[in-house]
């Protein structure tokens, strides 16, 4: 079979009937389902993207769980537990979606703790203050929503459907983050400083979550052709900033970009230059918390090994017992 880089339907290309059907489904904006034929590149690209997303949810639990035991009110503690628990749930749906493509959860987990799989670099930043619970919700979850809403229409069915559910929950997460910052900004001088300091630290990393500029994004063109991805990195980043500016005004926080200004011509907010060196440093493993995040995941996995082994052994004994009873 020939797996083409862009679906090529010209008369000269030799493609199989299955591939033609696949191309037609993509062209018609229909959904590809697990048992449908798909090009190997499409399958690999999806497994990469979905497992990275799942890993991001799992590693993303850490910076927030850091504050569960210290949340400053019982209401906030309950909300934070619910939110981090949602992230574990998202990880589970996404691993399941990747499993429909033939990936196994064990392999994906092993790749993560061996440091071979990628996850969103944003979670390699630390959460030294309570206000970071607000900034993560408002900025990080906000950026995630801009990225993820278009994925609800991703061509691969199980992924698109998982994303519908995830996006609903993410929008609550963003709202609660905004509310944390709103409360801080209406509070004492120390609380306002805590909020502004946190926004200063998370703003640029959140913008980098959309990925490199379009002219430097190797996987984007193919993903867009296959309709896994629907908008370019720069388009989504711009949409996000346009959304943030009025929200920052409501909060009373300053976005830490002195060059940010409204462009009358394009009716968009033009932003200053993003420092991509930092992005590449964090991506290369030289961020503030890369080592700590992986170590914590590996420790939890290793320390829980005896529990998982016990569950497997128990299930095996139970099914042997059931079979014995059925035979007697």
């Amino acid at each position: 079979m020939t797996s083409t880089i862009t679906p090529d339907t010209s008369a000269t290309a030799v493609i199989s009937v299955e591939e033609q059907q696949f191309n037609d489904l993509i062209e018609a904006d229909s959904r590809i389902e697990p048992r449908d034929w798909m090009p190997e590149g499409y399958r690999k690209s999806l497994v990469r993207q979905i497992s990275q997303h799942a890993h991001s949810e799992i590693i993303g639990m850490q910076p927030e769980s850091n504050w569960i035991t210290r949340a400053p009110s019982l209401k906030r503690k309950a909300i934070l537990i619910a939110k981090v628990q949602d992230e574990a749930g998202h990880g589970l749906y996404l691993y399941s979606a990747a499993q429909t493509l033939g990936a196994t959860r064990d392999d994906m987990t092993d790749a993560l703790i061996a440091g071979k799989a990628r996850y969103s670099s944003i979670f390699n930043y630390p959460t030294p203050s309570w206000a970071d619970m607000g900034s993560i919700g408002w900025l990080v979850d906000g950026a995630a929503i801009c990225n993820q809403v278009p994925l609800c229409r991703a061509s691969y069915g199980p992924y698109g459907r998982a994303m519908v559910r995830i996006c609903k929950e993410e929008s609550f997460h963003q709202r609660q983050g905004f509310e944390i910052l709103l409360e801080l900004m209406a509070g004492t001088e120390e609380q306002r400083q805590m909020a502004q300091d946190s926004v200063n630290r998370w703003y640029w990393p959140a913008l980098m979550m959309f990925g490199p500029p379009d002219d430097d994004s190797p996987n984007s063109a193919q993903s867009m052709a296959w309709k896994i991805k629907r908008h370019s990195n720069d388009e989504l980043r711009q949409r996000f900033v346009n959304m943030l500016v009025p929200q920052a005004a409501v909060l009373g926080v300053t976005l830490p970009d002195p060059d940010l200004h409204f462009n009358e011509e394009t009716q968009q907010w033009d932003l200053g230059v993003i420092d991509w060196t930092e992005f590449h440093e964090v991506l290369a493993g030289r961020g503030p918390n890369n080592a700590q995040r992986l170590q914590r995941r590996r420790d939890a996995h290793d320390e829980g090994a005896w529990v998982r082994e016990a569950a497997v052994a128990y299930a095996r004994k139970q099914s042997a017992r059931t079979e014995e009873m059925a035979a007697s």
Partner: protein
């Protein structure tokens, strides 16, 4: 063909009808906020007993999230912690009506001797077997307690118990399943389960100890000693199936109900209260 990925996902966070607190629904139940009920000093003290048990246990379980042996347990322990925080908020809110304090005043601005928690909930998480052993004991106790407290002459306590009993029924099942798996899984898990039970058992007796407060709250409070036969009857078949014996060892002196605590509580409170206490008067 996978028509709905959610249906394939194991133990999804929202598939069950218990334990989930949507992050946009954060107020206390209407009967607590709108009801005119103000607790008497004795009822408030009793509500503190129960509220502190739930709060301290929730605080401990919250520390598991992102560290559990598998993702499904991050979700499950998170669910249990959320339920318990819900119970704690209701009970502390009610306790506070007697003295004009809020749930947060009580959770964050009391010091150790003013807490009323049992020693068993103060015991550290330990390994997963210790956490499960603690859950197994406490969930079975709470189920028997709330089952009876539903008939309390105090309408607010009865309403809290009616809601809580459904949730702790699930906690009971969750811990029971794990006691069976760990006791009959591998040699290592069995060894750990036996150790955990014997480490926790010295703190069981305190749960069922009566106090003069109970005499003053006839018809309102549940007499702790009256729960022991039902508790024993409920755990006996599980321990039998798991081929575990009730540990026979020493009994700890306890004293949580009068403010005498284990060494662990001060550390737990220091962590829980650190941010709030750094900003007196702030709202969050």
């Amino acid at each position: 063909m996978s028509d709905d990925i959610a249906a394939d996902a194991p133990a999804a966070a929202h598939d069950d009808d218990h334990g989930h607190v949507a992050v946009d629904v954060t107020t206390l139940d209407a009967e607590l906020i709108e009801g005119p009920s103000v607790a008497t000093a004795d009822v408030a003290e009793y509500a503190l007993w129960l509220g502190d048990d739930s709060l301290i246990l929730a605080q401990q379980l919250g520390a598991w999230i992102s560290r559990a042996p598998e993702l499904e347990e991050d979700v499950a322990l998170g669910n249990v912690a959320l339920d318990l925080i819900g119970h704690a908020r209701s009970l502390l809110h009610y306790a506070g009506t007697a003295s004009g304090r809020t749930e947060d005043d009580l959770a964050y601005w009391r010091t150790e001797p003013d807490f009323r928690s049992l020693h068993i909930v103060e015991q550290p998480n330990g390994d997963f077997a210790h956490t499960i052993a603690r859950q197994f004991v406490v969930a079975h106790y709470l189920f028997e307690l709330y089952s009876r407290l539903r008939a309390s002459a105090d309408a607010t306590l009865a309403a809290i118990a009616a809601k809580a009993v459904k949730e702790v029924d699930y906690h009971r099942d969750h811990s029971t399943q794990w006691v069976l798996r760990l006791a009959q899984g591998t040699d290592e898990s069995r060894r750990r389960m036996i150790t955990a039970l014997s480490d926790l058992w010295p703190y069981v007796e305190e749960i069922f100890r009566d106090d003069p407060l109970i005499d003053r709250l006839g018809g309102v409070a549940v007499r702790p000693s009256s729960l022991l036969p039902a508790f024993d009857a409920a755990i006996a078949p599980v321990l039998a199936e798991a081929e575990l014996e009730v540990p026979r060892g020493f009994v700890a002196s306890g004293g949580g109900r009068t403010g005498k605590h284990s060494e662990h509580l001060a550390f737990l409170l220091a962590e829980m209260q650190v941010l709030t206490r750094a900003h007196p008067g702030a709202s969050w």
